[in-house]
Structures are given as C-alpha cells and as structure tokens.
C-alpha cells in the first residue's frame, strides 16, 4: 500500500497551471526525490500532499485513505518557507510542536533533547530562536518535524542554506530514517544528493511529470556515452570523430561520445598518443539527464 499517492492531480492559480495531471506513488521505506526547475510545481504538489491547498481535480490518498486531517498526525513536514516563533526558547518551541502532535510534555522534552544531541545543537536548546543562525534554525525545524516519529516525512528543499557538514549530517539522518521504514519525500535542486539518497524520483517541468521512476531504471534508459579518461601525453584523441564534447582538466578528461560513438575506437586512438591510467565508460549523471530532459534534448 502506498504511503502517499497522487492521481491525476491538477492545481491552477488564476490562469497559471501549477500542477498538471500529476501522478506519483511513494512506498514505505522509500526515499523519493521531487525535482524540477524553480516554479514548476514542486511546492504546489507538496502543499497538496499536506492538505494546505486542495487539488482542483484528481485525488490524494495518505496511508491508503483519501486525505483527511487526522492522517497528518503521522506526517512530518518541513516547508520550504520555514518559520519559527522567534521569541521562544528552542526547547519550549520543540516541546510545543511535540505536544501539538500529541506527545506529553515530558516525552516531547526527552525526544527534543535526544534529537538536539544527535544533530549537535544541544548547546542551543535554552537560547531564543532569534539568537541562532539560519542553519541552526533549520536544524530545529528539522527536529520539530520529526519529534512525533512520523511514518511519512515530507521536506521541501531541506538542504538549502546548510553548510556541507550539516547537509551531510541531515543526509545521514534521512538515510537512517529510511532504514527504519519511513517514507521520505523531498524536493531539491541538488542532483548529487538525489543520486546519493533517492530510490525514486519525479522530474516536474511546467507542472507535468516529465520523468519518473526508480533512479537506476531511469539511468539505465540512457546510453552509456560518457567516458572518464586519466592520461599523460598528447590530448589529440580529444579531437576524435567519436567525441561530441570534451572537457580536459590537465590529464583528466570528461568526454561525451557522439550518438552511437565507438568507445573502443576512442580507446585505441587515446592509447596511440598518450599513456592511459583510467578509461571508464559511465552512464550520464542525473544532472545531465535533468538538463537534457528539461531542455528538451533527451537522447533516450
């Protein structure tokens, strides 16, 4: 049974179609990436999953039932435009969120303290929110959305504004939650994170799903036409007729072959003019797929 399912959902604001017949399904224990350029309907889709706005047409089910507010008790939500009560102390704020989710004060306090320790912000628990940096506030919001141990976690751009160390910490936390069987949906522009974290993705452009499915399956649809070469010697082979595009970084070249280009022929040409330390035929990255798809240059 899908934890969350959107079926032919459409949302229009005035004359702008924000979401256009979008369908997707997310299972328990799955990390799902919602991708797309700015203003293409990611946040609109997430808000409909949370019941913040209603679809004009189509249906949304949570935990196998049509959307109802009661289901939100099992959902943790981190919106893109985040807000906290600035004058409240961090611990009081977290207890308040926990209590609203049905926890008793002592339980909420205990969980907030544990999470703060886990995310390395236990020193800030008794400070006012307004005294903290944006990154710290984001971690507090992250904790606030997880205190009640939700079965479905929905996060809109959870990594934006975080430094690499804290982004890594959040990645590890999300992976641990996924291992516990939580269904996790997040939107991001960071393709490297999607590639590392997500099992499935949905790429949205102009409100429509233009690419969806398991990451491995999507990548396998694309030809392995990228070559990584580490070499010493002449770079004349980069001008080969097999090469569509090449970037050379002082002995490290990233090459895109022409459609149906012959990698073996290129290897022979490279070996003839340089010493080859590495020659690897790789599949395109999600970022390249993203750019190709959204740019309308899909090779697959």
């Amino acid at each position: 049974m899908p934890v969350v399912e959107l079926a032919q959902v459409t949302k229009t604001y005035e004359s702008k179609v924000a979401v256009d017949h979008l369908s997707l399904s997310i299972e328990a224990g799955q990390m799902f990436g919602l991708l797309g350029p700015n203003g293409t309907g990611k946040t609109s889709s997430i808000r409909m999953m949370m019941g913040i706005t209603l679809p004009d047409t189509g249906s949304i089910t949570l935990f196998g039932k049509p959307f109802e507010r009661a289901s939100l008790k099992r959902v943790g939500y981190l919106p893109e435009e985040r807000g906290l009560y600035k004058k409240m102390k961090v611990i009081e704020q977290l207890i308040f969120f926990g209590e609203l989710h049905g926890l008793h004060e002592a339980e909420a306090r205990s969980r907030a303290t544990d999470w703060a320790r886990r995310l390395d912000i236990d020193d800030s628990l008794h400070k006012k929110t307004e005294e903290l940096s944006k990154g710290m506030q984001q971690k507090i919001q992250f904790i606030g959305s997880l205190l009640h141990d939700p079965a479905l976690i929905i996060m809109d751009e959870p990594f934006s504004g975080l430094d690499p160390v804290n982004a890594k910490l959040l990645e590890q936390t999300l992976l641990a939650l996924k291992d516990q069987g939580k269904a996790i949906v997040f939107s991001t522009h960071r393709m490297d994170q999607v590639e590392k974290l997500c099992d499935s993705i949905c790429l949205i452009d102009k409100g429509q799903a233009v690419l969806a499915g398991k990451v491995r399956e999507i990548k396998s649809r694309y030809e392995r036409n990228h070559v990584m070469v580490e070499f010493e010697g002449s770079e004349a082979f980069l001008q080969s007729a097999e090469v569509a595009e090449a970037k050379n970084f002082s002995g490290h070249a990233e090459i895109r072959l022409r459609p149906h280009g012959n990698a073996q022929k290129l290897l022979r040409e490279a070996s003839a003019c340089a010493t080859i330390y590495r020659f690897e035929l790789v599949e395109p990255s999600l970022e390249e797929i993203f750019i190709q798809t959204v740019g309308g240059k899909v090779d697959a």
Binding site: Y13, E14, R47, M50, G51, I52, T53, L54, R69, L72, V75, Y77, P79, E81, R82, G83, L84, Y85, K86, K87, M88, F96, F97, E99, L100, H101, G102, Q141, G144, S145
Partner: protein, 415 residues
C-alpha cells in the same frame, strides 16, 4: 480542543513573559498616575503663594478684598493693603511689581454713586489664574460692601455671596433614595469606558498583529501541518484575551490597594468619593470579554486578508470607528441615560460595552436591558466569528491571491 488550548497557552505565556506586557502593565498606570498627579499638584500650586498688593482710596473695600483673597484656600496669596492710597503710592507699588518684589498690584478706584474701576498689573501677562482670583475677590468684596452698606449683617452678606450648594440624591430601582455625586459618577463611568475601549482595541490589535507576524514568518505552514485553522484562531483569541484579563486584573488589584490606602482615603473623600458597585465589578469583565471577542475576531478576519502590518494599519481606523462613535455619544447619554438613543446605543453591539458603562454611571439600567445588550453582543460575536474564521482559514493559506467562491466552498467541505 487540546491543540486549541496548547496554542492559547503559548500565546498567553509568550505575551505575558514579553517585555511589552511588563512595560505596559507597570508603565501605563504609572504614566496615568504621573499625569494626574502632576496636573493635581500643578493646579494646587498655580496662583498660590503670590504676593499681591491691593491699593484703593477705599480702605473698607481694600480690607474686604484682602479678606476674600486670604480666604481662598487654593490661592493662599499674601496680600498687602495700601489704603487710602494716592497716585504716588500707586507709582511706588508699580515699581515694586517691575522689580519683582510684588507679583501683582490691584488698583481699585472708587467714586461715590458709581461702580468702582479696577486695574490689575503683573509682570506675567499669562498669569490669568491669579488675575481671575483677584477679580473674583474684588467682585465679592464690592457686593459684600454694598449689601453691608444696605444694612445687611456681615455673616448674611458672606453667605449670600458664597452661594448655596445643591445636594444631589438618586432614587434607586428599589425605591430607596441615596445621596450621590453626579460629577464623581460621571468620571467613574468615563474612566471605566475608556479602560474598556482601550483594552479591547489594544488586545484586538494584538491578535491582528500576531496573525500578520505569523503569516509573514510563514510559520502558518508549519502550524497547519499540525493544527486546524479554527483551532489556531480560537487558541489565539483565547490566549490574547486571557493576557488582557490578566493585565486588567493586575491594574484593578493595584487600584484597589491604592484606593484603600490612607493616602487615597484622604484624597478620595467627600466630592471625590468613588464607589464601584457589585454590578459594575461583575459586568466590567463580562463586557470586556464580549467587546474583546467582537473586535478581535473582526481584526483577525481583516489581518488574514492582509499581507503586511502596513496594509492592516490602513483598515484599523475603519474597524475602530464604532469606538469613536461611542465617545461621540457621551453627552447624549449623560444628559439622558434612558432616552431612546441612549438605550439603542447600549443595544447596538459595536457601541454596547462603552455606552452601557456610561449609562451605568448615571443610573443602573433595568436587568432586561443588560440581557438584551449581552444577548445581541453574543449573537454578533457569533456572526463575526463565523465570517472571520472563514476569512482566516482562507486568508492565511492564500499567499498573494484572493480566494474564489469555489475555493471557499471546497475549504468549507474540507474543514
């Protein structure tokens, strides 16, 4: 219900712990007391301890004037009499005014068969209070002199000049007759009406400001994942209203403590004696809660449709117009608290809290009028809340876009 109470508790604690609450709780009465105190003390001091010379060719009249000025308990002027005085004496005394030895010179010129003519010369052209006291003393002295000259005894003449005081009594609903002080009653009602309108407006605006701040900070999106919009609005109204009641309770306890102190006892007696009846003590919080709920739910609906505090401020004078109307009706209510318009204004929900307290200052209205007034207020609160909750529910969720009728209907179905 649980979430509503949690939200109310958060609102209450955040505001009560805030600097603004502490400052206004202590600061407002302190500023009010300071203004009243400074005004009272200044008034006591004005025109007092002046050294005034009375010069006249009529020693009897000059003596009468000195007696009247000396008898003015507020003025306490030291009076020098120069009588019978010559033009040379006048010039000498004027020099003393010029060099500041004297604060003023009253020169009275009498001629048989004519009314005396008088001039008052002082260094300060703005010292109208002393001038007024001198004028009053002069007029009383002239009347006294004429009455005594006509054969009346000094005591009878003084009594006639000082006038007769009128004691006021009020027939109560139970038929009993009580001595009252109309002026003190008016001021009591006026102060209570101001307190009532001020607090309902302040806390109504606090609700609106709180909504705008949450809307601007986008915490609504976090909150909506947890609580329903109606719980959020109800929690906010209860929490902020409780803050208002707490502040009023602190002020009333402090006021009661001051009123029973020996210091206040010495001042607030006689003409200034103020008695708060049980009816007033019970109805004040009732009308505060009702007035607050009416205005705060109206402000909440308005705030939900606004994007910024500046936008909200543009609508505030319109929402506060009924309060201004209440105070515009003061004279109407004071003149006849039982007239058709007075009773109608105390039934009209937006003006009911203030007008009812002004009416109570003059005379306690019959119980059925309280029942109608409170009933209509409750009905109008229900109507405004119904409307505002829907505005709120849609307004906080629609960023930069007006809700359409189909959206409104969907939200009604959803909630």
């Amino acid at each position: 219900m649980r979430n509503m109470l949690l939200i109310a508790r958060r609102e209450y604690l955040e505001q009560v712990r805030g600097r603004a609450f502490k400052t206004t709780t202590i600061g407002l009465p302190a500023i009010f007391a300071l203004i009243v105190g400074v005004g009272y003390l200044s008034n006591l001091g004005l025109g007092a301890n002046r050294q005034v010379a009375v010069a006249s060719n009529d020693p009897l009249l000059a003596g009468q004037i000195r007696q009247k000025l000396a008898g003015d308990k507020d003025a306490k002027a030291r009076v020098i009499v120069a009588a019978p005085a010559t033009p040379q004496d006048r010039a000498l005394l004027l020099n003393k005014v010029k060099d500041g030895t004297l604060d003023g010179l009253l020169w009275v010129d009498t001629a048989t068969g004519k009314l005396p003519t008088a001039t008052y010369t002082s260094q300060s052209a703005g010292d109208f209070i002393t001038a007024a006291r001198v004028k009053s003393a002069l007029n009383h002295a002239i009347i006294d002199e004429r009455l005594i000259g006509g054969g009346m005894q000094q005591g009878s003449a003084d009594a006639l000049v000082n006038g007769t005081s009128v004691a006021t009594y009020q027939v109560k609903m139970d038929g009993s007759v009580l001595k009252t002080n109309a002026e003190a009653s008016f001021w009591k009602g006026y102060v209570m009406a101001i307190l009532l309108s001020m607090t309902t407006m302040i806390y109504g605006m606090n609700v609106a400001r709180s909504i705008i701040q949450e809307k601007t900070s986008r915490i609504f999106e976090v909150m909506l994942a947890i609580a329903s919009p109606s719980d959020m609005l109800a929690g906010k109204l209860i929490g902020v209203g409780a803050v208002g009641l707490t502040q009023i309770a602190i002020w009333l306890v402090a006021a009661a403590a001051i009123l029973v102190s020996p210091f206040a006892g010495a001042i607030l007696t006689g003409e200034l004696a103020v008695h708060i009846t049980w009816t007033e003590a019970i109805l004040f919080p009732v009308y505060f809660v009702l007035g607050y709920l009416l205005y705060s739910s109206l402000f909440a609906g308005l705030a939900a449709t606004c994007e910024t505090e500046q936008e909200l401020q543009m609508y505030t004078p319109l929402a506060a117009a009924p309060t201004w109307l209440s105070f515009a009706l003061i004279m109407l209510v004071i003149n006849d608290s039982n007239s058709f318009w007075s009773v109608a204004a105390s039934f009209f929900p937006p003006t009911a809290p203030v007008i009812m307290f002004l009416r109570m200052a003059a005379e306690i209205p019959p119980a059925w009028q309280f029942a109608v007034s409170i009933g209509l207020l409750t009905l109008s609160i229900w109507a405004v809340l119904w409307f505002s909750t829907r505005l709120y529910r849609i307004g906080i969720l629609m960023y930069g876009k007006r809700a359409t009728v189909p959206e409104l209907l969907r939200w009604l179905r959803y909630s």
